[in-house]
Each structure stands twice: as structure tokens, then as C-alpha cells.
């Protein structure tokens, strides 16, 4: 009987240990720098970003390889990598931060929540504090998360040449969407 209790408690502890961390390696990040006057879309999509969220502490992070952004036009992708984000020199973009009000979210049952995210975004070798709202939807034990963020490209020392200033916006809209699964170690 004693053994049974020990076993039961171990299982319980193990179960509560699960579901603290959620992750994906297939987060989608859209990088949209289309200026309002541009006749065409200037947008890169990355489907290979990783994301980890710790629901207990609210800590979260994203990592994306700059070369993983695909553009419709090959020339645009080359310019993005070579002239703008210099992905040979700075191969990765990273976000490290936290969900400010994660205690308001019940990760154990289905529902939709709006949370505040605050943290540091690093790209092109520059780190800046950013803040945004994210929508979390708990569904079947998984978290569907979407967020939108506007960044000023000059904050990250990314300069837009005058020649394309009418097409490439000075601010980029970054949209993130991912489906996070419980992490089992």
C-alpha cells in the first residue's frame, strides 16, 4: 500500500510536470515591409522558427534563421539577405521575453485569451525592447498563438536605400502564428 502511494504521487508529480513547457519548431513568421504606396507586396515568410513557452513562469522565446525567410521574387530575397539584414553576418533573429499576465490564463482548459508580451527582439545584431498583445487559444491541450508587432527598421540599423524608399516601408510588420505542443522530456 505504501508503495502504491509512492507510485501514485510520483505519477501525479510527473503529470503536473508535463504541460509546463510548450514548444514548436514550425512557427510561422511573416516579415512584411510593404510601403503603403507600393504596388506589390514585399513580404518574406519563415516557417521554420522555433518557439518555447513556459506556462509556469511566463517566459518565452523565439528563434528564426534569417535565411529561412522565403520571398516570392528571388531578387527580393537576395536583397533582403545581402543588403538589408546581412544574414551571413547575422544569421539569426531572436526574441526573449515573457507573458506579462500568464496567471490569468488557464492552460488546462479550452479558451481564448489576450495576453501582453514584453521582451527583447534581436536582429541584425541589434537588441531592442518590444511589447505587443498576443492571442492565445487553448485547444485540446495545445496552444495556438498569434501576435503582431511593428518594428522601426532603423532601430535595428537596417537602412532602406532612397531608390526603393517608395516600395520598402521604414517600419516592418512582423506577424507570428504557431501551434505549441506540450514538451515532454
Amino acid at each position: 500500500m505504501k508503495n502504491f502511494f509512492v507510485a501514485a504521487i510520483t505519477v501525479l508529480v510527473a503529470m503536473t510536470g508535463f504541460g509546463q513547457k510548450y514548444f514548436t519548431k514550425g512557427a510561422q513568421i511573416n516579415f512584411d515591409a510593404t510601403s503603403p504606396s507600393s504596388p506589390e507586396k514585399i513580404e518574406g515568410i519563415n516557417r521554420t522558427a522555433t518557439c518555447v513557452v513556459d506556462t509556469k513562469t511566463g517566459n518565452m522565446q523565439f528563434a528564426a534563421l534569417m535565411k529561412g525567410f522565403g520571398f516570392e521574387r528571388a531578387l527580393m530575397e537576395e536583397h533582403f539577405n545581402e543588403n538589408y539584414v546581412e544574414s551571413d553576418k547575422y544569421p539569426k533573429a531572436e526574441f526573449k521575453g515573457e507573458i506579462k499576465n500568464s496567471d490569468k490564463v488557464d492552460f488546462t482548459k479550452d479558451g481564448t485569451y489576450t495576453v501582453k508580451i514584453k521582451g527583447k527582439l534581436t536582429m541584425h545584431g541589434e537588441s531592442k525592447d518590444v511589447e505587443t498583445d498576443a492571442k492565445l487559444t487553448m485547444q485540446n491541450g495545445k496552444i495556438k498563438a498569434t501576435a503582431e508587432l511593428s518594428v522601426l527598421l532603423s532601430d535595428y540599423k537596417i537602412s532602406i536605400p532612397g531608390l526603393v524608399a517608395d516600395k520598402v516601408s521604414k517600419t516592418a510588420k512582423i506577424t507570428v502564428s504557431c501551434l505549441l505542443e506540450p514538451f515532454k522530456s
Binding site: 519548431k25 514550425g26 510561422q28 521554420t48 518555447v52 529561412g68 521574387r73 528571388a74 531578387l75
Partner: protein, 149 residues
């Protein structure tokens, strides 16, 4: 006579050059990404040797493999389909935390149907780098990948 010469030796060549430049700019501007299936791989490696190479020396491996077309042979650890219908084939040893994640080109989605978990296949893709992560396990990422048959 003189006018004719000007026309023949100045105006006409300028027109030809202008037209050629216009065609070049138009083509270059509208250039699409090449279909990986039609590209020759620069390197042909196994999944396990590729990941260990990256883990041993990420910088040197980046110089060697980044933006290159690589053919990777390995066992299908897992096959993932995201909510938008995009496939990722994960190659590597089941016992290892290291993998090669091949994001499949959307125009080749239908070919993934033949891929089974546990089988040994070859995937051709463009290397976009190494994502090191101690908790989740590190990956070499291939984008615009196609399954080689």
C-alpha cells in the same frame, strides 16, 4: 547621307542596348525561385554526418553549406504537417536529439504522401542554417526541399 549615318551608328545601337536592358531588368525583376527538383546538389551527405559537422563547428559549416543545395540521406524520424498544410520531414536517428528538418516546397506537397515514418529516404533542399537548442534538440534546417526518388 550624314543623317543616315547618325541613325545607323548612334540611334540604332542605342535602341538595341535600351531594349536589351529593359528585357534584362524585366526578367531579373520577375525572376522566381528555382524549383529545387531541377537543381544539382553541391553536397551529398547523410543526416547524421551533417548534424555532427554543424555541431562540431557551426561557423565553418555555415560557410560550407549555407545557401547551397544539399542532398541528405537519412531515416524519417517524423513527418509533420502544420495547420496550413505545409509539410516538414525530419531526418535523423531516433536516439539522437539532433535532426535535419526539411521544410517541403509547397509545389511538391503531393509527393510527401509516399513518405513513411521509419523509412530511409533522400531529401534535396537549400540549407538555411543551424538552430541550436539544448532543450528541444538542435537542427540543421533545409528550406524549399523536395523528396528524391
Amino acid at each position: 547621307m550624314k543623317r543616315k549615318n547618325i541613325l545607323r551608328y548612334i540611334v540604332l545601337p542605342l535602341l538595341v542596348i535600351g531594349a536589351a536592358a529593359a528585357i534584362y531588368i524585366y526578367k531579373e525583376y520577375n525572376r522566381k525561385q528555382k524549383d529545387t527538383a531541377s537543381l544539382k546538389p553541391a553536397y551529398s551527405v547523410t543526416a547524421s554526418s551533417l548534424v555532427s559537422e554543424f555541431e562540431a563547428n557551426e561557423k565553418a559549416s555555415n560557410t560550407k553549406y549555407l545557401d547551397k543545395v544539399i542532398r541528405v540521406d537519412g531515416m524519417v524520424k517524423q513527418l509533420e504537417k502544420d495547420d496550413k498544410g505545409f509539410y516538414t520531414i525530419i531526418l535523423g536517428d531516433t536516439a539522437s536529439m539532433l535532426s535535419v528538418r526539411c521544410s517541403i516546397d509547397s509545389i511538391h506537397t503531393s509527393e510527401v504522401a509516399a513518405v513513411k515514418q521509419g523509412s530511409v529516404i533522400a531529401v534535396k533542399g537549400i540549407c538555411s542554417g543551424f538552430n541550436a537548442d539544448e532543450m528541444l534538440g538542435s537542427d540543421v534546417i533545409l528550406v524549399r526541399s523536395v523528396v528524391e526518388f
